[in-house]
Structure formats: C-alpha cells, structure tokens
Subunit: 367 residues, 2 copies
C-alpha cells in the first residue's frame, strides 16, 4: 500500500531506449490506434478511430447528459450557462475531419519519452455533427480585452504532480472560426463515452489535443491560459526544461494499408505475386490540401493516384498499382501539401515524442 | 528489405521477464481492452469492448456483405451455401454475453510469453443479435459420424510459420446448443468491422477464441479438427513442446472500477476521503452463476452487494460502500461461483499466458 500521497512525488521519467515499460503497455492497452488496414474506410468506423484519453473516461449517464450545461465566464459581457438541449437546437453542421494525436510516432523515436507508445496508428477520420463554437461565444459576448479562451472537460487527474481537469485554450480568432465546432454526434450516432459524450470540441486541422472532450466550461481570459496541458506539455522540445514551441496544426503525413497478409506476432507481410493495389491516406494541417503522394518500391519513387478531395479537413485517399514479382521489398510513401510541406525521410527529433511525420515504410515479401 | 520469405523462419520467441518488446506494443496499439472505469456500464459501449484480432481486419464492403454466403460441408447430408439474407430471416434472439480473451492477464505473468500483453482489461459485455447456429447445421443435416465441426473466418495469415485462415471447432452437442449463435448485430447495430462484420459466432461462456468472426465456412468432420488455432495454441501448458489441455470455458473472475482519479502515466489512484462506492463486475464460464464477491481493504475482507443477475451469460454487477479515511490502501476483489470455484490469490502459471484469473488489486491513496 502507498504510505504517503504518491502524486506529490517528483516525476522520475527520463527518455529511454530499447524495450518498453509496463506503464507504457498499460496505456497502450487502454488507448488504441486505428488498425492500419482500416485506412481503407473513407470514414473510420466506430471503435477504430484512434483514442487517447489522459485521465479516466467519465461515466456520464443519460440523466447526467440531460442535465448537462456549458458555462461561459471570465471576460465576457454576460456569464451564462447553456443547457445542452439548447446547444443541440442551434443550427447543425456535419463536417468530415481527420484527427491525429500529437504523440503519434512517439514509439519510433530513439531515445523515446515514456508515455503512450504510438507507432503510426494514432489517426482517424469521422463525421462530426455539431454547431460552430462561436454561436455560444457570441451569446456570452467576448469583451475586447479577451486574448485567450480556455476550454475545460470534466475529466481530471494528475500529470507530473499537477492536479487538473483537462483544459486547453484557443486564441479568440480561431475560437470564432466557423470550422471550430461544439459536437454531440460522431458518424451519425451520439458521441461514444470515450469520444466525449455528451459534448466535445472539434478543432479541425489541429492535432487532437485541442479538441477538448466532456466540455462543460469555457473561460474567456485577459491573460494567457497557463494550464498544464497548455504550457506543461504539447510543446516541441529538444531538451529537458526548455519551454519549447507550442504544438498546433498537424504536419503533412501519409500512411498506407499494409498489403498482403500478416504474421500474427511480427506483423511482417506476405504478398501474392501479380497485380496489387496499394491504398493509403494523406493529410496535412490547418486545412492545407494534399498536392501529391509518392510511393517508393525499393527506392524507386512513383506518383500515386489521388482520390477526389473529401473535404477541407479530411484525409485524401490515394492508390498505386503495382505488379508484384517474387522477392523482398521495402515500400514507403511520402505526402506533400499545396504549401510545399513534405514528409522528412528521417524523423525530426522531439524529446516528448511529438509531431513525428517521418515516412511510413513497410517490408513485404512477394511469393 | 527481406531477402527471403520471412514467414518460413522458425519462431524464435521464448518466455521473457521484464520490459516489453516492440512487437508486443504494436499488438497493444492495434488491439484494445476495456478502460476499467467503463465497467460501470452494464453493456459495454461500442469501441470499449475488448478486441483481439490475430490477423488483419478484413475489409468487407456493403456489396461484399450483400453477397456473403455461409457454406456448410463435410460430413453432412447436404452440402449447402446459405446467403446471409436467408440467415438474417431466421428467428432472431438477442443475448447479453460477457466475453473475455483467454490471454487476459498474460502481461502479469513472470516469465511472460511474448504476445498481446494484456493486463486485466480484455473483457466486455455486449447484446448480440442472431440466430441459433443449429438452425443452419440442421438444414445441412449432420451425419452420425460427425464428431467435430470446424468454423472458419476469412481472416488469414501466419502464426509460427503456419499459414491459415482463422478457424476453431466445437463438438456437435455444443454446436447444437441453443445458446450458440450466428450473429449479425451487436448492441442493436450492425456488427462493426473489427467485431466480425457481417457474420460471426458467439459461444457464450467460453473464452473469446471460440467465437469465430467473419464466418463464411463450416465443415462437419469425422475426425478431430487439427487447425493451428485449435491444437497449436489456446492450450494450457506448463512447458514448451507439451500438448497441454485445451482452453474452453472462462474461469471465475472479478474486476473493479478503479476508485478516484488517476495519475496519467502511473495510473496510481487518489481518492477523496468520505463515502466511496467501489463498483465492479464478476463472471464465470459455461453459464455458471456468480454466488459471491468479496472485497479486501488492507487485508480485511467484506462481502460486496450483488446486483440482480443480468442473464445466464452476462457478468454480474457488484458494489461495496467504503468510508474512506486518509492513508494508503490496497483494495482487492474475489469472486466465487455457485459451483464453488473461486479466484486464486496467486495466478496459476501458464506458459502461453492463458487463463490468469488471479485477484485484481489496486493501490489507492486517500486524502
């Protein structure tokens, strides 16, 4: 048994190499990525969208949901509390949005920060139904001195001895962007508990940490929000102790459906010789469109065929026809967006394991 | 690149201690357990039910599903192929069933077999809608010489150099039991891709490996089925090379909702002093009812209050009121079924990591 409050202990984590700690595996067992073969679906089916929750998933009963309110306070003209039913009565939009965890690829870094050990699978695309956040912000009326707005869920816990409810902030201009939504449905169904039932945010084009779940409180601020999830983590950092750079929009990236069939344990791939279609998805951040996807087969790069765009904030499908002949192959894919951003061959090192958009490569053996 | 077929390499795995291999983490990232706090739900919401797939999740389009057939051959009076639509027109039943992965708890063994590194979370309860399997078996007519019946999914791959489609068998009496179902819906919705869309089996009371997903072929047999998933794995074994004992029904077990709030990384728990309700679930195998659940707080055992039964094959809820005073506590729970089976304090060692039903214990600090 713990003999004193273990949460006030200093965090003793440091970057590691090699095998994975039990704590990392516990996080991997409760959170999950998309199974890469399910990239075939334009919209990720329920339960296959990546999931990363810092604290416990709140238990919200139907009665709790019926009584749910969203409060808006701070530097506003009118502090208000809006019942969920009123929010759901506002004009609704449905938007297809690709979300990726900022820590996707953390497990591929050496050394690696001990946390959720994502390889490449922390992504998904859903159709979110809700109303623009600005509808409720404008009801409260942001005062001119407002320079930051924080958003808070009911999920709480500790991180590095900091006790807090999960919270993140956005600058007023972004918070009032028509694409930033308060949502109550995902793929045409009520939000699942693990995705924020009954109310969450969707900040399209940003990594997932901005899309606060189980949202019940908004605070307009005359000074920058200093919550742990805003300033203590989700920063690009090269070394311990530096403040670093805040993480915002997603970096350009592509993933492919592993061709062929797997070995259970190693996940190595066997492909039958003959015509093979390699499928994948590509996306970038901030609403920037994908311009090009290239595929390398044993170092020879070819352009993939792009599917029609599926929305400003949704991943774009791509495919490449390959006449596979027996032997061993390394297959890789690389996306470039219309702003000219392209994926790096080697990951850009980050101490916390954030923003890894290095090339996805797969070994296959064709028989 | 691989220079020869890597799937014919001998499997070099052996039992290990200590940290976890990258391959184990990759499996943990694609599969997932229930988040233990979601044990609060009588029926596990979509995406939170445990998921263990050996090979890739098949991509089955709506058109593929519309053309889906189930063939029944071997030692039958009439080899037949039944369209899915005909199966769905048979009399439907809905049954609440708790399923647990046979490998649940593998990651807690020392030494540990390298595979999906479950701690305690590989369980879930769903409401499955389908028709008794015997309806289709009787349509084909089992010949008297039938002593085994194998069931095959379309998911395929390698395990220890064995290439196969996932397959399992049942003895004819069990296969014709009214509770063994062919199902097409889960919690009132079409099956999700990862749970076997468009057709799977549910074998209540057994560990999950018996409930074959993506089912498209049944073979009645005059000799025992020798498929890899039947004889190569899913056996209790003490040492390498022995045949061991086939794994069948679930062992008695209980889990609790961790009280309080967590630390993000360590998942240690902080509880506020005062009245606390500890919630949990208990189940046993083969339809055997739960008789008792006890909870230990720092070694003092008390009986939990049992919720009403929720069906012969569904877990049973339980709760214990605790007046928490500041300090450190070890909390554990133990279930006993009506046949007198009870959970062991120490896990019964198994080389492959199967059947671990040792006590669930949690450290908490009350402030």
């Amino acid at each position: 048994m713990p003999t004193r409050n273990p949460f006030t202990n200093p965090d003793t984590r440091s970057a590691v190499e090699g095998p994975f700690a039990r704590e990392e595996v516990v996080l991997a067992n409760r959170n999950h990525g998309i199974a890469l073969e399910m990239l075939r679906h334009d919209v990720t089916p329920a339960g296959l969208h990546y999931l990363l929750n810092h604290f416990d998933i709140p238990y919200v009963s139907e009665a709790d949901a019926a009584a749910w309110t969203l409060s808006i306070g701070g530097t506003v003209e009118r502090s208000i509390s809006i019942p969920l039913a009123e929010i759901k009565a506002l004009p609704a939009v449905t938007q297809r949005v690709t979300l990726e965890c900022a820590g996707n690829g953390r497990g591929l870094f050496e050394p690696r920060w001990p946390s959720m050990p994502w390889m490449r699978e922390a992504v998904g695309t859903a159709e979110w139904t809700g109303t623009p956040l600005r509808a409720v912000l404008d009801r409260a009326g942001l005062k001119p001195e407002t320079i930051d707005i924080s958003f808070h869920g009911i999920d709480s816990g500790f991180d590095k001895s900091n006790e807090h409810e999960y919270g993140r902030s956005l600058k007023p201009d972004l918070a009032r962007d028509e694409n930033v939504l308060l949502v109550w449905a995902m793929n045409g169904q009520p939000l699942l508990p693990q995705h924020g039932f009954p109310l969450r945010m969707i900040v399209p084009g940003w990594y997932g940490m901005a899309s606060v779940k189980w949202l019940n409180r908004i605070e307009a601020r005359a000074t920058p929000y200093q919550g742990y999830q805003q300033v203590g983590t989700y920063h690009f950092r090269q070394k311990e102790g530096e403040q670093g750079t805040p993480i915002t929009t997603m970096r350009v990236k592509s993933l492919m459906v592993p061709p062929g069939i797997p070995d259970w344990y190693s996940r190595k791939r066997l492909v039958e010789k003959g015509p093979v279609t390699i499928y994948g998805r590509a996306w970038s951040g901030g609403g920037t469109a994908i311009a090009r996807v290239e595929v390398s087969i044993n170092g020879v790069w070819r352009d993939a065929e792009l599917d029609p765009p599926a929305g400003r904030f949704a991943w774009r499908g791509w495919r490449l026809a390959w006449d596979a002949t027996p032997g061993g192959y390394d297959i890789a894919c690389r996306a470039t967006d219309v702003a000219g951003n392209t994926q790096p061959t080697e990951a850009i090192y980050d101490r916390g394991g954030f923003g890894n958009n290095s090339l996805h490569s797969i070994e296959v053996f064709v028989r």
